[in-house]
Each structure stands twice: as C-alpha cells, then as structure tokens.
C-alpha cells in the first residue's frame, strides 16, 4: 500500500464525518429557521389576521427582484444593512409584545404603521399627503398618508405610513434620556423623538424615532378634546405643548405632555382664544407663543362657523403655570393668525390666512416682539399682498442670516424676505408648495451656486413631490461695490409622493 493510498483511506472517515456534520448543521438550521419564523408568524398573526406564511416567500422574492434590478454593489450592501436593521426592529417589537401584552397601544401601532428605511442620517422630517406606491406591495388606498425622514441630499431615509392625514412635524430639540421600556433590565437610552400631529381637528398624535421612523407612541386626545394640528417642545425637550380644542365649549386649550413618561398628559392651560393653531417656544425658554386662529370649526365638515365674528390673537403664556402675559390682535378681525416662527432675538414671525372677502388686500406676513402694542407688516412691492392668495402655509426663519421664508400653495410660490430691510428679496414660482425649513449650510450640495460669497437658504416641499433648495447669495461684484444685492437660486429633487403642509429640520 502506497503512502498516498494510506492517506486517502484515513481521509474517508473524516470526509464522511464532515458530510454528517454538514447534514446535521443544515437540518438544525432548517429546523431553527422554521421555529423562529413560526414564532414570528404567531405574533404577526395576532396583529394581522390576514397574514400568511406565503408572505415570507413573496417578500423574499420581491426583495430579490429589487436586488436584481439594482445596479452596483453599494446599493445592495445598503439594502442588506437595511434588511438587518429591519430584522432587529421586528424582533425587538415581537419581544416587546411578548413581555407586555397588556399594552394595547403597542399592538395598534404595529398594525397601523409600516416603516421602511435606509441607513442615513436624517436632516428633515416631512408629512406626506400621498405616499409612493411600492412595487412589491401595491397598496391602492386613496388615503395613503405618511411621514418621511429626509437626508442632507434630499433623499428619503425612512418612510412610515399613517392612518390619518398629518400636519405639524415637531422635532425634539435635544435628545433625552428615557428608561428603556423594551428591556427587562433597568437600562436607559438616549432618544430624540419627532412628534407627528394629525390634521386639525384630530384625535391622535404620534411619536416617532427620528433615526428610523419607528412609531413609539400613539397618543389619543382626552374626552371632549381635539388636537388642533401643532405642538412644540420646551427647549430642554422634556415637555410637549399641544394646541387643543374643547369640543364642548369650543375654547382653545394647551395640553402639556411629559416626553419622558410616554407622553402622558400632565396639565392643561387656556389658550385665551378660539382655534389655537401653531405654537412655539420663546428663546427665554419660559414663554409659550400661541397663534389663536379665531375660527370655530365643525369637526365633520371642517366648516367655519364664525367667520364674521372671529377674533384671532397672538398670545404669550407663562409655560409653567399658564398665566396670560400678553395678547395682541390684528388690524382686521378676519386676519386669522395661523403659523409662527421664532427668531433667536425673540421676534415672532407670523403667517396670516385671510378669511374675508377675496378682493380685500391685507398684509399677510407680520412680526411682533414682546411689548409691541401691534403687529408690524413686512413690505410687499406695490403693497400687492394678493400675490399670496390670502393664504400663508408655513413660515421659516434663518436667525443667523436674518432671512424669512413664507410659502403659499394657492399662490403657487415661495417668497424670501430680508429681515434687515423687511423687504421681499424674491418670490419663486413653486406650485402647491407648503412646507418650509432652514437649509443648513452644511448641506452636501450647498456649493452648487456659482461663486457665492454667502450662501444660505431654505428647503421647500410641495404637493408635486419636489424638495426645492432656495439658496440666497450675494454676488461677489455686489459685495465689492458695497452693495448687498441678494439673489435666489433654486434646485429641486423630485420624489414620487405629495409632500404635505409642513416639514421640520432636525
């Protein structure tokens, strides 16, 4: 027997052993996979009675098709990373429910929302009036509302479906430490929430994670209360203030919710007016500023009941005890004060929606500072406020550069003001535009403007699916001549969705 033959014979039992081990491992893997999927399916079935085991095969096939249709390896790696994240989130949810089945709120959340995401940092969060149709899950519901996280390149990072149309998007100003309720141990985690308000009048608001869009809480309005579309955090991020309506007396209320106690309602103040809409926190961190729109709205029809007698006002409240500090009314009683933005110097930027006769020309963009007896309008060329079609949807302020952006979907334009001069720099045609927020100078595409000395601006969303960057710059020539002529350039990213009224920067 040669050396080689002896060696081969000695390898035979080893090969047979390896085959046996491989078979055993494969069988154990199959059994383990089936067991894990079976457990997942059991919990899934509790939430979705229509769920079937075929969904796993169908979903896998759809993902493979997506992978095959993709180009390059980087997107595939991102999808794999995304799949792993989704797996982790899914198990986290399943585990959470297993140990805490009596919390029906959590069961509702997973049944009502579907979240998909990419692993990218989020820069803005926006409401969506019409979500894109996923090729793998052709959901043809007419009311496919949602929320999306957007990155610095204006691409969608995550998207979460919502059962109702949403309105304000409120980002927690700083991350807060909260007990990790999903762990059996007494851990704590750093979390930054985004609150998504239902469209006025609504019975719910939702709390999502800014990083991945997962719904953490769905908060229902108290008996005889409706939410009125907007909210704001205290500057430390610990309390959430929400505009509400007393459905019996129709008096405006401000509900206060504890962010670190699962958004439990802890107090309530009067708003000192009817129809409170947007509210913001003063930089002194002690004062709430509230836009009382003045309109009584019937819930079912959204019909305005008191247009002739409405009495809008801007109210300053002590945020700790609800004491009324100051109240200012506009020159015309049908100038409904709806949207606000806060300048770092304490000036309140105000967007008006005029409810009077269509041909009456009233100022639609105002400012106010504590102590002023009246509002001060910004200026409009030839005093032509009808450019905005009596309707301002959002106001956003860049305090560092003293710029203000207002949007009007009905007027089909976004306008930027220079707050130094209080004059309009320019208005840009943007059909159906509404959401507005600051465009950080750190944006990766901010250097596309031709040789700007100073480049800054805003991001504006619209119902046609565009996220448009409006960049304000001062040309070098203008600067050298001692002038300060600003001009605005735009560039848009198109998405297959209709963005809703508001978006908010992180």
């Amino acid at each position: 027997m040669s050396e080689d033959e002896r060696h081969d014979r000695s390898d035979e039992p080893k090969a047979s052993s390896v085959s046996r081990e491989f078979l055993t491992t494969s069988m154990l893997t199959a059994v383990g996979t089936a067991a894990l999927v079976g457990i997942h399916h059991r919990y899934r079935k509790q939430q979705h009675p229509d769920a079937s085991l075929q969904d796993y095969v169908a979903g896998m096939r759809a993902q493979l098709q997506v992978l095959q249709s993709g180009t390059g390896s980087t997107p595939n790696l991102k999808r794999f990373r995304y799949a792993c994240q989704q797996a982790a989130v899914t198990w986290q949810q399943a585990y959470h429910q297993a140990i805490d089945d009596n919390k029906s709120e959590i069961l509702d959340l997973t049944a009502m929302h579907t979240t998909t995401m990419r692993a990218r940092p989020v820069r803005w969060v926006s409401g969506v009036a019409s979500m894109p149709k996923n090729t793998a899950s052709l959901n043809q519901n007419e009311h496919d509302f949602g929320v999306v996280g957007i990155d610095a390149d204006r691409q969608i990072v995550w998207q979460t479906t919502m059962p109702d149309r949403v309105h304000d998007i409120v980002v927690q100003p700083v991350p807060v430490t909260v007990p990790d309720t999903q762990s059996q141990h007494t851990n704590a985690e750093q979390r930054r929430d985004v609150v998504v308000m239902g469209r006025r009048p609504s019975e719910r608001f939702w709390v999502l994670s800014t990083s991945n869009g997962q719904v953490q809480h769905a908060i229902k309005a108290d008996v005889n209360r409706h939410f009125y579309g907007h909210a704001c955090y205290s500057l430390d991020g610990k309390l959430l203030y929400v505009t509400e309506n007393d459905t019996v007396s129709l008096a405006g209320k401000i509900g206060i919710y504890a962010a670190n106690d699962a958004y439990k309602k802890v107090a309530e103040f009067d708003s000192y007016g009817i129809g409170p809409h947007e509210l913001i926190m003063h930089p002194d961190s002690e004062t709430l500023v509230i836009a009382n729109g003045g309109i009584k709205t019937e819930q079912a029809s959204r019909e305005e009941l008191n247009l002739d007698t409405m009495r809008p006002s801007l109210v300053y409240l002590n945020r700790h005890d609800g004491t009324l500090l100051e109240q200012v009314t506009p020159e015309h009683n049908q100038m409904s004060i709806r949207h606000l933005a806060m300048h770092n110097d304490g000036s309140v930027m105000i967007g008006i929606q005029f409810q009077g006769e269509k041909h009456i020309n009233v100022p639609l963009v105002l400012t106010h500072q504590r102590g002023d007896v009246s509002f001060t309008p910004l200026t409009m060329p030839k005093n032509q406020w009808q450019r905005f079609h009596q309707y301002i949807a959002s106001v956003a302020v860049d305090s560092e550069r003293n710029l203000l952006c207002v949007t009007t979907p009905i007027g089909g334009c976004a306008a930027i003001y220079d707050l130094h001069t209080r004059e309009l720099i320019e208005d840009m045609s943007l059909p159906d535009c509404a959401g507005a927020s600051v465009l950080s100078s750190a944006s990766s595409s901010a250097n596309k403007v031709d040789d700007p000395i100073e480049s800054s601006g805003f991001i504006v969303s619209d119902g046609q699916g565009q996220l448009t960057a409006l960049r304000v710059s001062v040309s070098p020539d203008s600067k050298l001549n001692g002038k300060d002529d600003k001009h605005i350039s735009t560039d848009s990213q198109l998405h297959r969705m209709s963005f809703d009224n508001h978006l908010q920067a992180l």
Partner: protein, 383 residues
C-alpha cells in the same frame, strides 16, 4: 455546545432574520378589498363601467412617456388648448362690446336687442368657464382672475357694487373701470348689468361697453403672456429632467372638476352640508350652461387625441375609455336637467354630484397613476 450547533443557531437566526425582514406587509393582502368596499359605501350610484374601472385600478401601470413625447404633448396643450381658450374668451368679449356699442346708440335698450346682448354674454361666460380649466399662469397670478370672474360672491357685493358704480359714474370709461375693485368687473359685473335690469339706460350701457372692453384687454394680455411664455409656464423645455408641466396641467384639470363640484354644485345646493354661496350665473338663471361648458372643456382635454395616444401606448385603452364614458354619462344627465339647476329635483342634483365624484376618482386613481404623476395635496383645504 458543539460547533455545528452554534453554527446552526447562527445560520437559523440569519436566515430567519432575512425572511422576516423581507416579509410582504399583511396589509397588502386586504388593501384592494378594503378600497373597493370604501368606494362601494361612498358611491352607491356608480354604474357598471365604474365598477370595472375600480377592478382595473390594481393593474394600472404607468405609461413610459419619453421627454420628447411629453414635450410634444405640452406644446400641443399650449398651442391648441390653452391659448385658443383665452383667445376665444377675448373674442367673445369683443363681440359683446361691438354688440353693445351697436345697440346702445339709442338707450334705453330692451326687447330683442337686450336679448341679443344677454345671449352674447352667455357665450362669453361659457368661453371663460372653459378657460378656467387653467388654474395657473398669468390668469391667476396675484388673484387677477378675480377681475374676470368674482365667484362665488357670498355677500352679494357685485349687485350693490355695480349699481353704485353706475350711479356714481354714468359715463364710465374702460380706463376708469380698470382701476376699480374686482367686484365691479368682468363676467359677473356684466351679468348683473344685463340680467338684473329689464332695460338698459345710458349709464348701464356705458358700463356694459366699458366692462366688456376692459375684460377683453385683460383676456388679450393673458393670451399674449401665454404666447410669449408657454415654454416656461408648462416647463416644456424641462421634460428631460422633470414632469412638472404635465403634473401641473393634469392637476389643473382635476382642480377644475373638484372646484366645480364643491363651489358650483355641492355648496350652493346644500347637498352635503348647509347651503352656502350661489350657483354660477345665478342672476341669469343659466347655471346648467356654465357647468356644461366646464364639463365640455374637461371632456375635450381628457379625450384629446394626443393624450389618448399616450395613454394607449401600453396597448391599454381602459383609462381613456373609462374617463370618456364617465364624462359622457355626466353630460347626458346634465342635459336632462333644467337651465337653472336649483330648479332640478334633489335626486338629480345628487346624481350630478355623484357623477362628478366618479370623474374625480377616475382622474385620481387611473389617469394620474397611468401618467406616472402625482395628485397634489388639496391646498384649498389645508391649514
């Protein structure tokens, strides 16, 4: 623990994780059913063609429209739909002006001469109703369309405004009128002067001549603006990178149907809530003619051969056929109703509203997905 046990656990977790992460959302299993139930509940009067269209919704596949095809279509929209619509309205205003100058040489004007003026006003009002399908561009910038059609006039401002203006200035010129408030101008002002009086005196004649002349000037300005700026207004030169023009045009047509349904039918007739506002051409008692003109404009735009060819390029004619059928059904129903829609019975009024709901749904659920564009959020109902 043996190594193969550990390996099996790891592989099990990985494969199960992958399967679970990819699982198809369970909601999809019932979405089509839920949707069809919702439609059935909300629209009990839908006919069989609509039922079949609902079933076909799930199979809507966006047509692949090349930038050149889109550019060709948008150019066609500008040249053959939009500009002619404004040109026709301007022409009808000119004709009213000429007729008024002719008949007003000897005031008072009454009888057949007044009837001729009223008939021409109706042609003008219908021409403008067609042009209202374009809800963007120079006609709506800075609310200038209010100077052409102040509607709805919920407080009756036009009635008192026109009477007061004529009384204060019986020799009104077009230039003087152009500087007045929107409530005394355009189609409603002319309707007030022509239909609220049994005969026209010299002051009323001067008003009709001035108002038709001022209106004609406005309409020609809009037409000229479109001729000069159609490329920009419809983003015709941007079809390679954006579908903005197509999106805006189709959403504009959708907006006309929704606004007509809400402001011109539902609210004045109090179909879904408390009555509010008034029917179009209420003083003339010609609401049917105005609604008909709008429907006709929608019909022509939706069944336009170039658009139909785009929709049929997938060998799929269902979308165009469904829309055409729904619009024809609505027009047939409207033809059977009285000139003044407020005199129609409630069932017919409700049926008209329901038919327009069907048209709206078809545009939103079939036409817009088929064109690969998006329904804008309803900006008139925001906050």
């Amino acid at each position: 623990m043996k190594i193969n046990h550990a390996l099996a656990m790891a592989l099990s977790a990985l494969s199960a994780g992958l399967l679970i992460s990819c699982v198809k959302p369970a909601d999809d299993n019932k979405s089509a059913e839920v949707d069809s139930q919702e439609v059935a509940q909300n629209n009990s009067t839908t006919d069989s063609s609509t039922e079949s269209s609902k079933e076909s919704t799930a199979q809507i596949v966006a047509v692949d429209i090349s930038p050149q095809t889109e550019k060709t279509y948008l150019t066609h929209v500008a040249d053959d739909i939009v500009i002619p619509a404004y040109a026709d309205a301007a022409k009808q205003s000119d004709l009213l002006n000429e007729l008024a100058q002719k008949h007003c040489q000897q005031a008072p004007v009454s009888g057949a001469e007044l009837q001729a003026l009223r008939a021409q006003w109706l042609v003008l009002a219908q021409a403008w109703s067609s042009a209202e399908m374009i809800n963007f561009g120079p006609a709506t910038a800075s609310m200038s369309n209010l100077y052409i059609n102040y509607y709805p006039d919920e407080r009756g401002l036009v009635h008192s405004g026109v009477a007061d203006l004529i009384a204060a200035n019986p020799k009104l010129t077009p230039e003087q009128l152009a500087g007045e408030s929107a409530i005394v101008q355009g189609v409603p002002g002319l309707e007030e002067a022509l239909f609220a009086n049994e005969s026209l005196n010299a002051g009323q004649c001067a008003y009709v001549i001035s108002a038709s002349s001022a209106l004609s000037t406005r309409l020609k300005d809009i037409e000229k603006n479109w001729q000069q700026n159609a490329t920009e207004l419809l983003a015709i030169d941007q079809t390679a990178e954006s579908d903005r023009g197509l999106n805006q045009w189709i959403n504009s047509l959708l907006s006309l149907v929704e606004t007509m349904k809400s402001n011109a039918i539902d609210q004045p007739l109090g179909l879904t809530g408390k009555a509010k506002g008034h029917l179009p051409a209420a003083t003339a008692g010609q609401s049917r003619a105005i609604i008909n003109a709008k429907l006709d404009a929608i019909n022509k735009a939706m069944t336009d051969p170039v658009l139909t060819a785009i929709l049929n390029s997938n060998d799929e004619s269902t979308v165009a056929n469904n829309l055409s059928t729904a619009l024809a059904d609505t027009t047939t129903l409207l033809a059977q109703m009285p000139e003044d829609l407020s005199a129609a019975n409630k069932d017919d009024q409700q049926a008209l509203y329901d038919h327009l709901t069907t048209v709206t749904r078809l545009i939103k659920r079939e036409l817009i997905p088929a064109l690969g564009i998006r329904v804008g959020f309803n900006s008139t109902d925001g906050d």
